[in-house]
Every structure is written in structure tokens, then in C-alpha cells.
């Protein structure tokens, strides 16, 4: 490892670590000054508690399972316990990163930190996450289970599991560091966003695929298992399990070989992490700012006139065009909008148990309402955080001659257009995957959306003003709305879906879906009146809240 300031006094490094820890603590304490910060802290506390329970409970379960395997002479089966730990440790931080804000340690580079200190900070701070905590607790449970079942394995198990834990830690940090590199630039970030989305979608299909394999014979399954076994054995969880198995049989030489290989993995990940951190330490420049090109080299394109939309004013058409342009430039956001179709596909390919098909296959009439509901749900992030993607551009709405109600109405119009387009897509998908939705169900679903959409828009408009959060369509991480917004949206959706479901239940029970449609249309009138009332007051509300709105969305 290169140390560019090898003469640095250890005292300075300790003082720097203490200063970093202290500043993190101060940032946390300062965040508690606002109600929002306190709410975030409470929600983090609850999540932490949940992880703690998961860690301890999981550790105990793994310990019992390990003791059971050892007691019954199936030491190799420890691999079945090590694989989930390994996968969770590596995958969870990636998923969690997409949802949480992380500490940017590159800010520390302006201080006289030695490379060694910087490396340690990157390793240690990054490791203070739920995956490491839970992974460590689970390994501890495993260790206790194994040594209780076979006390002689105390030392060997400790060595293997410590190395396995260190390897996991280093791999997780390495993945993270390289992801960070790819996420540093807009284009690579968007590509990563798409890959991430495809992985998430892919994961949804694991259930249906494994369900299909359940119908294959055990012999066939064993065949697949045997084919995969050589690969499994040379991967870290397999190596750790093999090492403990060999030590338990007293084959110390054979036990050391997989342990050494595990060490090779750890060293390799250490080196890969070091390469990344060193590049960062040496001040790599990942800036993307476009430099002005000389006029002679400039390639000009004709400026096209903006859209013209019938029955809509120029400014509304301009906002409509701007919002749609923003959406079309966001791969992840576009794919999110395709999710209702993906969900329908998952329902379609999931075979039911004992020959009974899934709910959607049994009651295909509900495929369209469920798809439409999902489409609305997918739009929640947009509807409830109207100004989030505008970032500091939100100031423009306050200096421009447009009224805020016009801006908000145009944004709602865009969301309604997307929802309508989604419903058409869902209808076609249901037609292709299940059967043509009946006219009655189609009309009832449209009535339900006419009821649900204005309520969502009305509450969404209020929350957009009262609880805004900056989002970047080009980034796949940190795209969550504010916690208060997410919680309120959940309650609203639960209420709306409850009412709609009740209306459908009554209609189906009375064999007359026109009742459902009628009830929902009456409710839609009330919803629209409520929406119009909110819209009437939106200018006053926005002007009252403009300072906090601008401040929140202009944050770096």
C-alpha cells in the first residue's frame, strides 16, 4: 500500500479520526433541530431496531441450524447458511444505497490526510452499515452454533469465519467504491441506473422461475445442483464451508487449502479497493463540465419551436413539454413506469400451487383494475413531489409571470397524461396476457381512476409544497421522497384503495358493476371539487412556503 506521507505522526491520524467522528456526530445533532430531522432520526431508529432484531434473531436461527448440521454430520451443509449471509452482505448495501444518502468521504481530501488514514476512513465509515452489522451478528451466531456442537472446532471456525467476514467486508467496500466511480458521471450513472432497475425486475422473476422448477423431478434438480457444485466450491461461501468441514474431520492440510484460497479472495478485493481509493486519493478528475467550443468548431442545430397543444395556453404547453422532456431523459424513471406491465407479466408466469392458478389467473377481470392501481402507485413519487426534479430551478416559478396554480395544473396534466397512457398500455397487456377486460370492468376502473387521481393530485400538490425533496432523475440513488411524504402517501393510497375495493366488492356481490361505477363517479365529483379547492389556494400556500421550498430544493 502506498503511503505518500509515511512520516505522519500516528497522533495526527488519531486526531483526524476523532475529528471526523465528531463532525459526523455534530451533523447528526444539528439535523435534530428541524422537525423533519427529528422524524428522520426516529425512522432511522426504528429501522435500526428492526435490523437489530433481524441480526440477533437471524444469528440465533443460524446458530441452531449450524449446530443441527454439525450434530447430524452434515458439515458441508454450512454452505447453505453461508451463501445467504454472503449474498445479503453484498447485495443489500447496493439496494440500500439507492434509497439512502451516504457520506462523501472524497470531501476529506482537502485536508492533510495520509493515504493510510484515508484508506481506513473509506473502509471503516463505509462499513458502518446494516449489512455489516447483520452479517457480523449472523456469523457470530454461526460461530456459537458450531462451537457449541463441536467445541474442538473453536479455533478453526474462528479463523475461517473471521476471514470470511473480512473478505465480505472488503468485497462490499470494493463493489461500493467501483460503483461510486461509475456513478460519478451522468452517463455511466444512468447506465448503472438501468442495470440496477433490470436487476430489480429480474429478482421479481426468481419466484415464478423457482416455482416452475418445483414441478421438475428431484433427479433433474439434483442434476442442475451437481453441475453447479464445482463452481460453488471455489466461491467464498463454499470455500469457508469446505474448510470448516475438513477441520472437523481432522484434515488440517485439506482444511488450510480452502482457507488460503479464501485469503486470496480477501487480498484480491483488498487490492481492488486500494486501486480505487488510491485513484481517488491522487485526485482523479471525473468532472463532466462541457468546455465551450470555439465558434468555428461549433456544430449548430436549428432551434425548434416549442410544442403547441390544443386548448392549452403557451406557458402550460411549455411546462408540459419541459416535464415530459425531463421524464424521457430519465431511463430509470421510464422503466419505473413500465413496472405495471412487468408486474402483470410476473402474475402471468407465476404458476399456482396444486394446480390452482394465481389470483390474477383465476379472476382475470381484476387484472385491469389491479394494473391500473399499480400504475397510479408508480406515479406516487412524481405526484407527491411535484417540484423535486426542478431542484434550484424552482426559483424560476417564483420569478416568472406564471401563477403557481398554472404551473401545478400543468404538472398534474402531465401526470394525468402519463397515467392515461399507462392505463392504455395496461389494458393492452391484460388483453394479451389474460383476456380482454370486459366493458363493465373497464368503465368501473376508469371511474375508480377518476376518483383516485384528483385526490392524489390534491394531496400531492399540498405535500409537494409542504414536504419537498430534491431528486435527480439522472441518478439511481437517493430518489426517495421525504419520509413524511412517503408515509402520508401510503396512508392516502391505503384509504383510496380501500374505498375502491369496497365499491368493487359491493358491485360484484350485487352482480351489478354499474353500482360500482356510479358510486365511484359520484366520489370522483367530490374528489374533483376538492382538487379544484386546493388548486385555488395553491398560489397563497406556495407564496407562504416559498422560502423553505426554495431552500430545500436548492440544497447541494
Amino acid at each position: 500500500m502506498t503511503d505518500e506521507h509515511s512520516n505522519e505522526a500516528p497522533a495526527l491520524a488519531s486526531a483526524q479520526f476523532a475529528a471526523i467522528a465528531r463532525v459526523r456526530w455534530q451533523i447528526f445533532i444539528n439535523s435534530l433541530r428541524s422537525i423533519r430531522g427529528r422524524m428522520e432520526a426516529v425512522s432511522r431508529g426504528l429501522v435500526g431496531l428492526w435490523f437489530g432484531v433481524g441480526g440477533l434473531g437471524g444469528g440465533a436461527a443460524l446458530g441452531f441450524a449450524a449446530a443441527f448440521f454439525i450434530g447430524h454430520g452434515h458439515v458441508e451443509w454450512l454452505a447453505f447458511l453461508l451463501w445467504p449471509i454472503f449474498l445479503f452482505w453484498q447485495l443489500f448495501p447496493i439496494i440500500a444505497t439507492a434509497l439512502t444518502e451516504t457520506f462523501d468521504s472524497s470531501n476529506l481530501l482537502r485536508f492533510p490526510l495520509s493515504y493510510r488514514s484515508f484508506f481506513i476512513v473509506r473502509l471503516v465509515y463505509g462499513s458502518l452499515d446494516p449489512a455489516t452489522a447483520m452479517g457480523s451478528l449472523w456469523l457470530l451466531g454461526l460461530f456459537v452454533g458450531i462451537t457449541v456442537a463441536k467445541p474442538l472446532l473453536f479455533l478453526a471456525t474462528a479463523a475461517v469465519l473471521v476471514l470470511f467476514g473480512a473478505m465480505n467486508l472488503l468485497l462490499a467496500r470494493t463493489i461500493f467504491a467501483w460503483l461510486e466511480r461509475w456513478l460519478a458521471q451522468r452517463r455511466t450513472r444512468e447506465i448503472m441506473g438501468l442495470i440496477f432497475f433490470l436487476i430489480i425486475v429480474g429478482v421479481q422473476f426468481i419466484g415464478p422461475i423457482t416455482a416452475r422448477f418445483e414441478h421438475h423431478s428431484h433427479a433433474q434438480a439434483a442434476q442442475y445442483g451437481e453441475a453447479l457444485l464445482p463452481v460453488e466450491r471455489v466461491l467464498p461461501p463454499g470455500l469457508a464451508a469446505a474448510s470448516i468441514a475438513q477441520f472437523s474431520r481432522g484434515n488440517f492440510t485439506y482444511g488450510l487449502a480452502p482457507l488460503l484460497l479464501l485469503g486470496v479472495y480477501a487480498v484480491s478485493f483488498f487490492w481492488l479497493f486500494h486501486v480505487r481509493v488510491l485513484a481517488q486519493f491522487r485526485g482523479e478528475n471525473l468532472g463532466e463540465s462541457a468546455a465551450a467550443k470555439p465558434a468555428s468548431r461549433a456544430r449548430k442545430l436549428p432551434v425548434r419551436a416549442g410544442w403547441e397543444i390544443p386548448f392549452v395556453s403557451g406557458p402550460t404547453a411549455a411546462i408540459f413539454q419541459k416535464e415530459l422532456t425531463y421524464l424521457t431523459r430519465s431511463g430509470p424513471m421510464l422503466f419505473t413506469l413500465l413496472m405495471p406491465i412487468v408486474i402483470l407479466l410476473i402474475f402471468r408466469v407465476t404458476p399456482g400451487k396444486n394446480g390452482v392458478n394465481t389470483f390474477m389467473n383465476v379472476a382475470p377481470n381484476f387484472a385491469f383494475p389491479v394494473g391500473a392501481a399499480y400504475a397510479l402507485l408508480m406515479l406516487t413519487n412524481l405526484i407527491y413531489n411535484n417540484f423535486g426534479a426542478d431542484a434550484s430551478g424552482v426559483q424560476f416559478w417564483f420569478v416568472s409571470p406564471a401563477r403557481l396554480r398554472e404551473v401545478v395544473r400543468a404538472k398534474n396534466l402531465v401526470h394525468m397524461t402519463i397515467l392515461a397512457a399507462e392505463m392504455v398500455l395496461v389494458w393492452i397487456a391484460v388483453d394479451l396476457m389474460f383476456r380482454t377486460p370486459s366493458l363493465l370492468y373497464t368503465i368501473a376502473t376508469i371511474a375508480a381512476v377518476l376518483f383516485a387521481a384528483p385526490i392524489n393530485f390534491a394531496i400531492g400538490n399540498l405535500l409537494s409544497i409542504y414536504s419537498p425533496k430534491k431528486i435527480d432523475f439522472g441518478t439511481f440513488g437517493r430518489q426517495r421522497a421525504a419520509s413524511a411524504t412517503a408515509f402520508s402517501a401510503l396512508l392516502v393510497q391505503a384509504g383510496i384503495f380501500g374505498i375502491v375495493a369496497l365499491a368493487f366488492v359491493v358491485g360484484v356481490h350485487l352482480h351489478n358493476l354499474w353500482i360500482t361505477t356510479g358510486v365511484l363517479l359520484v366520489l370522483a365529483v367530490f374528489a374533483f371539487v376538492g382538487y379544484a379547492a386546493v388548486l385555488r389556494h395553491i398560489d397563497t400556500l406556495a407564496l407562504t412556503r416559498r422560502e423553505s421550498l426554495i431552500f430545500e430544493l436548492s440544497k447541494a
Binding site: 456544430r299 430551478g393 424560476f396 420569478v399 409571470p401
Partner: protein
């Protein structure tokens, strides 16, 4: 109030117990290139935010082009252009898309907005990267784009909050040329800047705010005359007065500024660890 382009009456803004701007009475005549100066935290940005509708005054009145801002915000905003502190750009549009959008928001028809967009991009030398998103522009390019957006509708008054901050000499030259051209066409420009040399070169009138209060207002000549008339005597024999006027030379704006806000250059003060 009167026929000023910008006028305020007892403009005050508080944040909790902090009085950021107190009882400010500004007068900016039509066609003036007006510099609004003050030390850090004096209340410049708060004032310009109130004048452009980004912040509500706690008390007081603002009139722009004879219209009460609170009563007629839309009519006022239609006639002004603003480059606020954060530039208010939409990062995920291209420069052309952004200007086109802004033009239409100010009520220009589609063709006029497109035509002016093309002209402005050329003038600001931003037409070289038609596909680059605003978020990928350099800081200077973003400043030029923000200024282009502020003038696309031909405003009568332009409010600029630190327009030259972080802008290189070439971009700065382009911005100045554009502003001079606007002044020659009868527009009023109200700018804040920390770069006193630029303000001195561009502005005909200035106002200085200090600790939330307006401490001076008028043409540069008026300010010079006022300061020279009140030039303090050296407080001790052999000790120079703050920023003395050189023989036969006019006081620079920096010297005026230091005298008015009572600041001193701390060149002689020592830091314990620097000696």
C-alpha cells in the same frame, strides 16, 4: 410612490429575531445601471430576493415600474428579468430547450421564442454544444445561459445577483457587452456584486447597505462628494485616515465603500500563529 423603476418604502425583513433588512428606502430611476453593494451578510441578497418576488417582506412596500409588487406580481414579473443567486436553471434541458421554455413562459409565441433562443445562443457563444444538458455546462456557461434567459423577453428591468461570480474574463466580457447594450436601449439594471471594480466601471448609481440598513445612495459623484465632505481627521499624529484620497485623484469605489461601511483593511493586525 413616484416614477422610479424600482422604489421601496420602509422595506424590512426579519428572520426570527434577526433583522436582515431594516427600513430600506430605495430609488432607482429608469435607465440607470444601479449597483447594490454591501459587506457579506449586509442584506443584499435578501433585498434583491424581495424585489424579485422570491421572498416576502415582513413590512414595507415595493413598487416596480409604478406597480405594487404584492398586489400585481404577475404584471411586474412580466416586465422584469432575474438572474437569482442559484441561477434557477433546469439542469436536464439543453440550453436551447431551456431558453425556448423561458421565452414561452414569458408569453412569447413559439416562433419568436425559437428565433430569440437561436440569437441568444449565438451571442452568448453557447450554440457549440446543442445537445449538452445544462447540468453539464461549466459555471460560466450556466451564468451566460441564466442571463440569456433573463433577457429573452426584453425586460424593462434586469435584476442580477452576483452575475460575475465565478465567471472568467471572456464570459465576463460577453456579459458586460450585453448589459451595456441593454442600458443603451433604455433598460434599467439592478445588480449586486462583490467586485467593486466592475461595479465602478459599469454602474452610474450605487446604494450601499450595511447591517440591514441603507447607508448611502446616489450617483458615484454624489457619494464621493458626500464622503470627502465628511473626511475624518487622523485620530492621532502620524496615523493616516482610513483610505485617504490621493492628491488630485478621485476616491475609488472601494475607498468610498470602506469609508462608508466603516471597514478597515486588517493588514496590520496579527494572527497569533502567523506572527
Amino acid at each position: 410612490m413616484d416614477s422610479s423603476a424600482v422604489s421601496t418604502e420602509h422595506l424590512t425583513r426579519t428572520f426570527g429575531k434577526l433583522v436582515a433588512v431594516q427600513d430600506v428606502n430605495l430609488r432607482v430611476a429608469p435607465g440607470q445601471f444601479f449597483g447594490f453593494l454591501g459587506p457579506n451578510g449586509a442584506g443584499k441578497s435578501t433585498t434583491i430576493k424581495m424585489l424579485t418576488g422570491l421572498l416576502a417582506p415582513t413590512t414595507g412596500r415595493i413598487e416596480i415600474l409604478g406597480l405594487d409588487l404584492t398586489a400585481n406580481p404577475v404584471d411586474v414579473k412580466r416586465q422584469i428579468g432575474v438572474v437569482p443567486e442559484g441561477m434557477a436553471l433546469f439542469g436536464r434541458l439543453t440550453g436551447a430547450e431551456y431558453l425556448n421554455f423561458v421565452g414561452r413562459m414569458y408569453g412569447l409565441d413559439r416562433e419568436t421564442a425559437a428565433k430569440r433562443t437561436a440569437e441568444l445562443l449565438d451571442f452568448m457563444q453557447l450554440s457549440g454544444q446543442p445537445k449538452s444538458l445544462v447540468t453539464d455546462y461549466s459555471h460560466g456557461m450556466q451564468k451566460k445561459l441564466a442571463l440569456a434567459a433573463a433577457v429573452i423577453h426584453g425586460p424593462k428591468i434586469l435584476f442580477l445577483d452576483e452575475p460575475f461570480e465565478g465567471v472568467d474574463a471572456i464570459a465576463s466580457g460577453t456579459l458586460k457587452a450585453m448589459l451595456q447594450r441593454m442600458i443603451s436601449h433604455g433598460a434599467t439594471i439592478f445588480l449586486t456584486s462583490h467586485v467593486l471594480e466592475i461595479v465602478e466601471r459599469l454602474c452610474s448609481h450605487v446604494a450601499i447597505i450595511h447591517q440591514g440598513r441603507l447607508v448611502a445612495q446616489g450617483s458615484l459623484e454624489d457619494l464621493r462628494a458626500g464622503v470627502e465632505a465628511q473626511a475624518p481627521e487622523p485620530s492621532a499624529p502620524g496615523e493616516p485616515a482610513v483610505a485617504p484620497a490621493r492628491n488630485g485623484e478621485k476616491l475609488t469605489l472601494e475607498e468610498l465603500f470602506l469609508r462608508i461601511v466603516g471597514g478597515t483593511r486588517l493588514a496590520d493586525q496579527e494572527l497569533s500563529w502567523l506572527g
